[in-house]
C-alpha cells in the first residue's frame, strides 16, 4: 500500500499494465513529453518510448479512430481525450465505430479500447472544461462506461477496463485528481466492472451517485445524521453495466431514493436509474424518486458551486424525501 492521489493511481495503473502487457499503448494530446495536462501519464514516455506513448496531433476523431484500428490489430490502446468536453469531435468514431465494430463484423474484429477522459466541474473550468457527458455513452449500445471516485478504485477499475475485451469509456472526475488521496495497493489490484460500492450504510434514504458527487453526498449524509436521518450512499462506479442488485437492495431497505449527478438533469443517467426503479421497485417506494443534478444549461463559469449538486442541495432533497 502506498498513499497515492487519484492522478497518481491512474499513472500507477498505466505503468503497471504497460510493464505487464506489451500490447498496451497510450496515445493522446500532450501525454508524452508533457506527461498529460493532469500528469496522469507522467514518466511513461521515458520508460516505454515514443512508439508506446504517443503524442498525437490535435484531432480527437483520429485519436479514437487510430486507437480502434490499433485494437483491431491486437493492441490494447488507451486513448486520452484531454477533457471530456472535447470528446464530441470523436463522437462519430465512438458511436459509429468503437461501439459497433464488433457487431458490424460479427466479432471478426473487435476493439478493446479504453478512452480515458477527465470529467466534471468544480475547478473553475467553465463551459468547456467541466462537462459530464456520460449519458451520451451510456445510451450507446456497445460501450461500457466507468467512473471511479477513489484512487484505489481508479487503479482497480482501470486495470479491469484495459483487460476487458469490450470498449470502455473511462471517466476521471478531474476535481479529485490532486485533491483525493488514499492508500492504494501496489502492483496487481483489480476491481470488477459493474459492481457498486456501498460507501455509507443508512436506513432512511438511499443516495445513489457516482464520481465526485460521492463526496458531496457523504457530506450531506453527515449533516443529515445530525438531524437524525440515516442516509445510505451508493457509489455506482460503473454505469454500463450498472449494479441493479445493489440499487434494488438499498431501495428495498429505505424506500426513498435520491439520485445525484453533475450532468444536466434532462435525459441524464439519473433518469435511467429512476426509470428502472419505477419499473422494478415501485412497490418498495415510500417517496417520490428525486434527482439532484446539474441544471439544464451549459456549465457556467461563475457560480459553479450553485450549479453543482452541492451538499446543500442534496440535503434538501433528503429532507424532501423523508417528507420534511
Amino acid at each position: 500500500m502506498t498513499v497515492m492521489t487519484f492522478a497518481k493511481a491512474i499513472n500507477d495503473a498505466l505503468r503497471y499494465e504497460m510493464r505487464r502487457d506489451e500490447r498496451v499503448v497510450v496515445l493522446g494530446e500532450d501525454i508524452g513529453v508533457n506527461g498529460g495536462v493532469f500528469r496522469c501519464t507522467e514518466h511513461l514516455l521515458a520508460e516505454f518510448g515514443p512508439s508506446r506513448v504517443i503524442d498525437t496531433p490535435l484531432s480527437e476523431s483520429a485519436i479514437i479512430g487510430v486507437a480502434i484500428g490499433m485494437a483491431m490489430n491486437g493492441l490494447r490502446p488507451i486513448a486520452e481525450i484531454q477533457f471530456s468536453d472535447f470528446i464530441y469531435g470523436g463522437f462519430e468514431q465512438l458511436v459509429s465505430n468503437l461501439a459497433k465494430v464488433r457487431y458490424r463484423s460479427a466479432s471478426h474484429y473487435f476493439a478493446p479500447v479504453v478512452v480515458r477522459t477527465p470529467v466534471g466541474g468544480g475547478v473553475r473550468g467553465g463551459m468547456y472544461h467541466s462537462q459530464s457527458p456520460e449519458a451520451y455513452f451510456a445510451h450507446t449500445a456497445g460501450l461500457k462506461v466507468i467512473i471511479p471516485s477513489t484512487p484505489s478504485d481508479a487503479k482497480g477499475l482501470l486495470l479491469s477496463s484495459i483487460r476487458n475485451d469490450d470498449p470502455v469509456i473511462f471517466f476521471e472526475p478531474k476535481r479529485l485528481y490532486h485533491s483525493m488521496k488514499e492508500d492504494v495497493p501496489e502492483g496487481e489490484h483489480t476491481v470488477p466492472l459493474g459492481k457498486a460500492r456501498l460507501v455509507r450504510e443508512g436506513d432512511d434514504v438511499s443516495v445513489i451517485t457516482y464520481g465526485a458527487t460521492v463526496y458531496d453526498s457523504l457530506e450531506a449524509a453527515e449533516r443529515a445524521a445530525q438531524e437524525g436521518v440515516s442516509v445510505e450512499v451508493l457509489d455506482l462506479r460503473s454505469l454500463v453495466p450498472y449494479d441493479w442488485d445493489a440499487i434494488s437492495k438499498s431501495v428495498k431497505k429505505t424506500g426513498r431514493p435520491v439520485i445525484v449527478h453533475e450532468a444536466p438533469r434532462t435525459a441524464g443517467f439519473g433518469a435511467e436509474i429512476a426509470a428502472t426503479i419505477a419499473e422494478r421497485e415501485i412497490y418498495s417506494l415510500e417517496a417520490p424518486i428525486i434527482r439532484v443534478t446539474g441544471y439544464d444549461t451549459p456549465y457556467p463559469l461563475v457560480h459553479e458551486r450553485l450549479y453543482l449538486p452541492n451538499p446543500d442541495r442534496i440535503l434538501e432533497a433528503v429532507r424532501r424525501s423523508i417528507g420534511q
Partner: protein, 390 residues
C-alpha cells in the same frame, strides 16, 4: 524518385494531361495522369513486367465482378437483398488495387467494393450469403451491402463514409509497432475526402508514417453531388500536399495503371516509405445504390461518353491484341463465370435466414445484464409475436 517516375513505361502513356503536385519538401514534380491502356501503341506485357497469369487473373476478376454485380442487383429487385451499391464501371480500381497486395495485407474498403472481395478470393457463395443475409452470412445479417471476413483480411466498412480511414491508420501503426511487414490499404470515394476523418486520418499518418496506402476511388459523384461541388481542388491527388505526402492520379478505368501504381506504392511502403495517396479517376456507370435514380442529376450523354472507356472492354481488347487470350477463350471464360454465378444464386435462394437471437450477438464480449435480460424478453415475446419474420 516519384511514383510515376518509377514506372518509366507509363510516362509516355498520357491520355489526358492532368498535372498534379507531389512532393513538397525538396522540389516540385510534374506528374502525368498515369495510364497504361491509353496511348495508340500499348506496351507489351513483358515491358510492363506483368505475367500472363496475372493479366488473366485480373481480367477474370473483372468479368466475375461484373457478372456477380448484375446478379446481386437482380436479387435486390426480387427483394432478397436489402440495398446494394453496384460496382459497374469501377471494376478496374477494385481489382487493380487488390492485385497489388499480398494476402497478409489488410484492406479497409467501403460499401461498394465487390471487385476487391473477388480478387481476394472470397467465394461467390460467401458473398451471396452475405448480401442475402442467409444463415451462413459471415456477418450474421447485422448490416447490408458491406462485406468483411477476417480470414481474407477484409474489414467490413462503416457506412459513415471516411470513418474507416483513421482505423486503417491505427491498424497500420499496430503492425509497425509489432514489426509485421504488412501493408494496410484503405479505399474511399471522392465524397469521403470532404469529411474531417479523411483529413485527420491522413494528417495523423503523415506524422507517424505507418505502412498504409490511401486510395480514392474518384467516380466523380457522391450520390448526386458532382466533384466540382465537392471540393475546390481540381484533383484529389493534390490533397496529399497538405500532409507533405506523395499523391498520384491514375486512370481508374485502366486496371494495369491502377495495379502498377498501387504495387509500386505498396512495395515502397512495405520497405518503410511514407504513406501515399492514390487517386483513381473513374466513373460510376450505374446508380449510386438501388435506392438512387441517376437520371435526376446527370445526362445520358455524360454516362455514354464514359461507357467508351469501359474498363472490362479495355482490358479485354488489350489481352486480345497482345495475344494473351483470343476471342474464343474470352467467350468460354464469360460463359463459365455466368454459369458459376447462376448456380450459386440458385443455391443461396434455398437458404433460410439467421436465428432471431442474432440481434443480441456481437454487441459485447461480456454483455451487461440489461442486454441479457432483453434477450430473454425477446425469447418470451417470440412465442406471442404476430409480426412477420424476415
Amino acid at each position: 524518385m516519384g511514383l510515376a517516375e518509377s514506372l518509366p513505361f507509363v510516362r509516355t502513356r498520357v491520355r489526358r494531361k492532368l498535372i498534379i503536385c507531389n512532393r513538397i519538401d525538396g522540389h516540385w514534380g510534374w506528374y502525368e495522369f498515369i495510364a497504361v491502356l491509353g496511348g495508340k501503341v500499348l506496351p507489351d506485357p513483358e515491358k510492363i513486367g506483368v505475367s500472363s497469369d496475372d493479366l488473366l487473373k485480373m481480367y477474370k476478376a473483372m468479368v466475375l465482378t461484373r457478372v456477380l454485380d448484375r446478379y446481386i442487383l437482380r436479387l435486390q429487385r426480387m427483394g432478397k437483398v436489402a440495398l446494394y451499391a453496384e460496382s459497374l464501371g469501377e471494376e478496374a480500381v477494385e481489382v487493380g488495387v487488390t492485385q497489388a497486395l499480398q494476402p497478409r495485407d489488410v484492406v479497409f474498403p467501403t460499401y461498394r467494393e465487390l471487385g476487391i472481395y473477388l480478387t481476394r478470393g472470397v467465394p461467390v457463395a460467401e458473398i451471396l450469403d452475405r448480401m442475402t443475409c442467409t444463415v451462413d452470412d459471415p456477418l450474421k445479417g447485422h448490416e447490408f451491402a458491406i462485406f468483411g471476413d477476417k480470414r481474407f483480411n477484409i474489414v467490413p466498412a462503416p457506412t459513415p463514409v471516411s470513418t474507416q480511414i483513421p482505423l486503417a491508420v491505427g491498424y497500420a501503426m499496430a503492425a509497425k509497432l509489432k514489426g509485421e511487414k504488412m501493408v494496410v490499404l484503405t479505399i474511399f470515394g471522392d465524397g469521403a475526402t470532404s469529411k474531417g476523418d479523411f483529413h485527420e486520418g491522413l494528417n495523423f499518418a503523415s506524422v507517424h508514417k505507418p505502412p498504409v496506402v490511401f486510395v480514392c476511388r474518384n467516380n466523380q459523384y457522391a450520390i448526386s453531388t458532382h466533384i466540382s461541388k465537392q471540393t475546390g481542388s481540381s484533383t484529389i491527388a493534390q490533397k496529399a500536399v497538405a500532409y507533405g505526402l506523395e499523391g498520384v492520379r491514375v486512370d481508374g478505368n485502366d486496371v494495369l495503371a491502377v495495379y502498377l501504381t498501387t504495387k509500386a506504392a505498396v512495395d515502397r511502403i512495405r520497405e518503410g516509405a511514407p504513406p501515399v495517396l492514390i487517386e483513381a479517376l473513374t466513373y460510376r456507370m450505374g446508380a449510386h445504390t438501388t435506392s438512387d435514380d441517376p437520371k435526376r442529376y446527370r445526362t445520358e450523354d455524360e454516362t455514354q461518353s464514359w461507357a467508351k472507356l469501359d474498363p472490362v472492354s479495355r482490358m479485354r481488347d488489350y489481352l486480345i491484341s497482345k495475344g494473351v487470350m483470343d476471342e474464343e477463350a474470352d467467350s468460354v471464360l464469360r460463359s463459365e463465370v455466368e454459369r458459376e454465378v447462376a448456380a450459386e444464386v440458385e443455391k443461396v435462394l434455398q437458404k433460410s435466414g439467421p436465428d432471431p437471437l442474432v440481434i443480441f450477438e456481437d454487441v459485447y464480449s461480456d454483455p451487461p445484464w440489461t442486454v441479457l435480460e432483453q434477450m430473454e424478453e425477446l425469447k418470451r415475446m417470440i412465442g406471442i409475436q404476430r409480426v412477420v419474420r424476415r
